[in-house]
Amino acid sequence: MPWLTLAVSVPLLAAALVAVLPARMTAAPRAVALGASVLALACMAVTWARFDAGRGMQLVEEATWIPSLDISWRLAVDGMSLALCALTVVLFVLAVIHGVGPKPMTRAAAALLLLLEGATLAFFLAQDFFLFYVAFDVTLVAMYFLIALWGEENRRYAALKFFLYTLVGSLPVLLGIIALFLAAEPNTFNMMRLAEQEPLAGAGVGASFVFLAFFVGFAIKTPVVPFHTWLPAAHVEAPTAGSVLLAGVLLKMGTYGLVRVNLQMLPDAFAEYALPVALLGVVSALYGALVALAQTDLKRLIAYTSINHMGYVIVGVAAAAAGGISAEARELAIDGAVLQMVAHGVVTAALFFLAGFIQTRARTRDLGLLNGLIRPMPVYGTLVAVAFFASLGLPGLAQFPAELQIFLGVFDVWPAVAAVTVIGIVITAGLFLLALQRAFLGETSEQWRGLTDVRGRELAAVVPLIVLTVALGVFPRLVLDVINSGSWL
C-alpha cells in the first residue's frame, strides 16, 4: 500500500467531500474531518512501523506527474520527515476534536482543516520541489482563511499580515528552486537527486544568492528576528485550533526547509554563513524571551516564547552547518534540533489550547487580571503548570533533552554562542514562573471563583499532549532513535 500517498490524499479527498456535502447534514463535517484525520494518523503509524531508522531516505513512492519538467509525485521519509509528520497527524486529530469556528463544525471549517493537513503532510513528505512548493503555498492559503474567518477581533489584519509575510518568503524560495533546477545536470526538481548532487557546491556568488533566497523564505516562516513581526499578530488573532496548528506545525516548515534545502543541498554556502545564521538564532532566542517577559496577554506570551524556542533550533542547525564541527557534535545538534521541533510542537500546542480554555471562560487572557485560578480550576492549573515547566525546559519534560542536545552540539564549535544562548532559558524560566505565580497562586478574586474546570472535549484535546510531553521528556529515545540524523545527513 502507498501509505504516504494515502496519508496525504485521504485528508485532501475528505476536504473535497466535505465541501459538497448537503448543508442539512450538520454533524457530518466534523465526523468526516475526524475520520479522515484519524485515518491519516493510522497511515503514519503504519509508516512508523515500517520505517528502518538506519537507512536514511526510504519508502519512496513515485509517480510521473509533469514529465516535461521532470516533475513527479514523489514522497519519501527520513527521520526528520517522519518525526514531523507524526507530530502533524497527532495535532490535527486534536485540533479537529477541539474544533474551529461555530459549533457544530461547518463545512468550510472542516474542509480548510483537512486541506491544511493534506498540504502540511505533503510538504514534509515531498521529495520533489514542485510538490514541495505547491504544498508550502496551499498551507498558506488554508491558514489565511482559518485566521480570517474564525479569528478574533483583528483577524483580517492579522490574516493579511500572515499571507503577505509568508508570500514574501515563499517567492524567493521559488526563485531558489528554479536556480537549483537549472544548475542540476540534467535539470531536475528531484530533491533526493539535488541533495546527492549538490549542483551549486562551492560555486561562489551564485550559490550565496540561492542560499540567501532560501534562507529568507524559511527565516520568515520560522520566524527568525527580524522577520518575526507577523507572528504575534497571527498567533494572537487566530482561533485556538489555528494558533495550535500554526505554532505546533507550520513554524516547523521553516526549520525543516532550512535543514532539507540549505543544509542538505547547499552545505558549502551554509558553512560560509553558519556563524551569522547562528547569531540571528541567538538574537531570536534572547529577543523572544525578553519580549515574552514583558507580555501580560497569555497568548502573546506563548507566541514570543515560540520565537525563543525556534531560535534554539536555528542555532543548532547553523552549528551543524559550520565547517569545524565534529561528526558526533553535528549529529547531536541536528538530532536535538529536530527533537526540539517536535517537542516545541507538542508543548506549544498544549499551551495554546490551554490559553484558549481560559479565554472562553474568563473572557480575558490578561495575566494581570487573572489570579488564584488553581482553586476553582485545579485540573486546569495542573495542566498549565506541566506545560509551563516543559516550556521552560525542566528536566524530565519534552524540551529539556532537545535543548540539551542542541547546546552540547553547539558547544563543540562555538562555546561562547552556546553560553549566551543558555541565558534564554533563564529568562523563560523566570517569565513562566512569574506568570504561574500571578495567575494561578494567591487569592482568588470574586469574579473568578465561579469558573468551571476543564472537561470533556477540552481534556480530550489537551491531555494527550501533556502525556506526550512527559513521555518525550522521560524517553526521548522514542523519537531520537527514529530521527537518527547520522543516517541521512
Partner: protein
C-alpha cells in the same frame, strides 16, 4: 511537364494548402455564416447564431489540433501565413476562448437588435487575431491588425445606447488608429530596407541597415503591437475601454488582442532582429518590468473590479512579455509564453465570468458589490477565489505554472533581475487581489439591492468551463506544457 500537368500540380498544392488553412477557414466561415444566419433567422432565434459561432470556434480549435497532429507545420500562401506550432497553439486558445466568450455574452446581448451581427463581428475579431498570430509577412500583419482593431471597436461600442460604451469605442478607435498607423509607418521602413515584405528577408537585411533607422522603425512596430497587448506606455486606453465596453466584450478584449499582440511580437522580433541584435531582449525585458510594475501599482487604487482587472491585465501582460524577452537567450521562452497565454486566458475569462454574474445580479461591479458573496453564491465565490489566486500565481493553479515557466525562462536567459522584479510585483498584487477575495469570503451578506437575476445556463457553463480549466491546467499541466514545448517558431534560426 506540360501545361495541364503544371496546372494540376498547382491545383493539388492549393487544395492541400486549404487543409493547412482549415482552422482559419473555420473562423472565416463563422463570421460569414453568422451574417447570413442573422439575416435569415427571426429575432427571437438569434441565439442560434451564437451557438453556430461558438461551434465554429470550437471546430477551429479542433482543426488546429488535427492539423498539428496530422501534418506538422509549414508555411503556406508563399510564406505569408506560417502554420507552425505557435500559430496552431494560439488558434486553439483563441477558439476555446471565443466559444466561452459567446456563452458569456449571450445573456447580455440576447434580445438586442443586432444580436446575430454581434456574433459575426466577434468571429471576425477571432479570425483577425488568429491571422495576426500566424503572419510571416508584414503586409499581412498590418492587414490583420487593422481588421482586429476594426472589429474590436465595433464590439466595444455594441451597446449603442450607453454613453460609456460609446466613449470606450471611440477611445479605442483613436488610440488604435494612431498606434496602428505608427506601426505601418515602421513596417514601411522595413520594407524599404529589405525590399520585401517577408519577415525572413527582413531579418537578413536589417543587420546591414543603418542602425538609427532600424531602431526607429522597430520601436514604431513595437508601439503598434504593444498597444494591442496593452504594454506600458501604450496602455492608457485599457481601463476606460474595459469599464465602458459591455462586460463580455471586455472579457474577450482582455484575452484576444493581448494574445495576438504578444504572439506577433514573439514572431516578429526574433525573425526581424536575429541573435538579439540591437539588444532587443534587454529592451523588451525593461518594458516588461515597467509594464508589470505600473499595472500593479495602479491596480492598488481601484475600487471598481473591472478597472482593477484592467490594470491586473496590464500587469499580466508584463509577466507574459518576460517569455518574449527570454526567447533569444533560452529555449524555454516561447513555451513559457504559450503556456502562460493559455493559463491567462482561462483564468481571466473565469474572473470576468464571476464579475459579470455579480454585475448582472447587483447592477454594480464595485468591490462593495462582492461583500458577502460567499453566503449568497458559494460556487461563484469558489470560482472568484480560484481565478484571483491563479492571477496572483498561487499553486497548484494555472497561473502558478505560468509564472514558474516565465521565471524559469527568465533566469535561464540570464535575466534573473527581471524574475526578481516579477516576484516583488507578485507581492504587490496580493493586496488588490485580496481586496476582492476578502470581502467576498469574509464579510456577512450585504442586503439585497437589485432584483436577483439567476445566471443563465450559458453564463453558468462558461463560468464552470473557465474555472475548471484554471484549476486543471495547473494540476494536470502536462498536456498543455507538452504542447507549448512543441510550439516552435518556424523561420527563426
Amino acid at each position: 511537364m506540360n501545361d495541364v500537368q503544371t496546372a494540376k500540380a498547382m491545383e493539388e498544392e492549393m487544395l492541400s494548402d486549404l487543409l493547412w488553412l482549415s482552422p482559419y477557414g473555420a473562423l472565416v466561415l463563422a463570421a460569414i455564416g453568422a451574417v447570413v444566419l442573422a439575416l435569415a433567422l427571426p429575432r427571437h432565434r438569434q441565439g442560434l447564431v451564437g451557438a453556430y459561432v461558438a461551434g465554429a470556434h470550437l471546430s477551429a480549435a479542433a482543426l488546429a489540433a488535427g492539423v498539428w497532429l496530422d501534418r506538422g507545420f509549414r508555411s503556406t500562401m508563399s510564406g505569408t501565413v506560417v502554420v507552425d506550432g505557435l500559430a496552431l497553439a494560439i488558434v486553439g486558445i483563441l477558439g476555446v476562448s471565443g466559444a466561452v466568450t459567446v456563452a458569456l455574452a449571450r445573456p447580455t446581448v440576447a434580445g438586442t437588435d443586432r444580436e446575430g451581427e454581434f456574433y459575426a463581428v466577434l468571429a471576425a475579431a477571432s479570425f483577425a487575431a488568429a491571422v495576426l498570430s500566424s503572419a510571416g509577412d508584414i503586409a499581412l500583419i498590418a492587414l490583420s491588425l487593422g481588421l482586429l482593431s476594426l472589429s474590436s471597436f465595433i464590439l466595444a461600442g455594441y451597446l449603442r445606447g450607453s454613453l460609456r460604451g460609446n466613449e470606450a469605442a471611440l477611445k479605442y478607435y483613436i488610440y488604435g488608429t494612431v498606434a496602428g498607423a505608427a506601426m505601418v509607418y515602421g513596417l514601411s521602413f522595413w520594407f524599404g530596407l529589405a525590399g520585401s515584405t517577408e519577415l525572413g528577408a527582413i531579418g537578413r537585411a536589417l543587420p546591414d541597415a543603418p542602425v538609427g533607422m532600424v531602431v526607429v522603425s522597430t520601436v514604431l512596430v513595437v508601439v503598434g503591437l504593444g498597444y494591442k497587448a496593452s504594454l506600458v506606455p501604450f496602455h492608457f486606453w485599457t481601463p476606460d475601454v474595459y469599464e465602458g465596453a459591455p462586460l463580455p466584450v471586455t472579457a474577450y478584449l482582455s484575452v484576444l488582442p493581448k494574445v495576438a499582440g504578444l504572439v506577433a511580437l514573439a514572431r516578429v522580433l526574433p525573425q526581424a532582429l536575429p541573435d538579439g541584435s540591437l539588444g532587443w531582449p534587454t529592451a523588451i525585458a525593461i518594458v516588461a518590468a515597467v509594464t508589470m510594475t505600473l499595472g500593479n501599482l495602479a491596480a492598488l487604487w481601484q475600487s471598481n473590479v473591472v478597472r482593477l482587472l484592467a490594470y491586473s491585465s496590464i500587469a499580466q501582460a508584463g509577466y507574459l512579455l518576460m517569455g518574449v524577452a527570454a526567447m533569444d537567450g533560452s529555449e524555454a521562452g516561447l513555451p513559457a509564453l504559450v503556456y502562460y497565454l493559455a493559463a491567462y486566458a482561462a483564468t481571466n475569462l473565469a474572473a470576468f465570468a464571476v464579475v459579470l454574474a455579480v454585475q448582472r445580479e447587483s447592477g454594480s461591479a464595485d468591490v462593495a458589490a462582492f461583500a458577502g458573496l460567499g453566503r449568497r453564491h458559494p460556487w461563484w465565490t469558489a470560482a472568484l477565489v480560484l481565478s484571483f489566486l491563479s492571477l496572483l500565481g498561487l499553486p497548484p493553479l494555472a497561473g502558478f505554472v505560468g509564472k514558474l515557466e516565465v521565471f524559469l525562462a527568465a533566469i535561464d536567459a540570464g535575466q534573473a533581475w527581471l524574475a526578481v522584479v516579477a516576484v516583488l510585483n507578485t507581492v504587490v498584487s496580493l493586496f488588490y487581489y485580496l481586496r476582492v477575495i476578502a470581502p467576498a469570503v469574509l464579510s456577512p451578506a450585504a442586503e439585497d439591492t437589485g432584483q436577483p437575476r439567476a445566471a443563465t445556463a450559458a453564463l453558468a457553463t462558461a463560468l464552470a468551463v473557465a474555472t475548471v480549466a484554471t484549476v486543471a491546467l495547473g494540476v494536470v499541466a502536462e498536456p498543455l506544457l507538452d504542447l507549448a514545448n512543441g510550439a516552435r517558431l518556424m523561420g527563426a534560426r
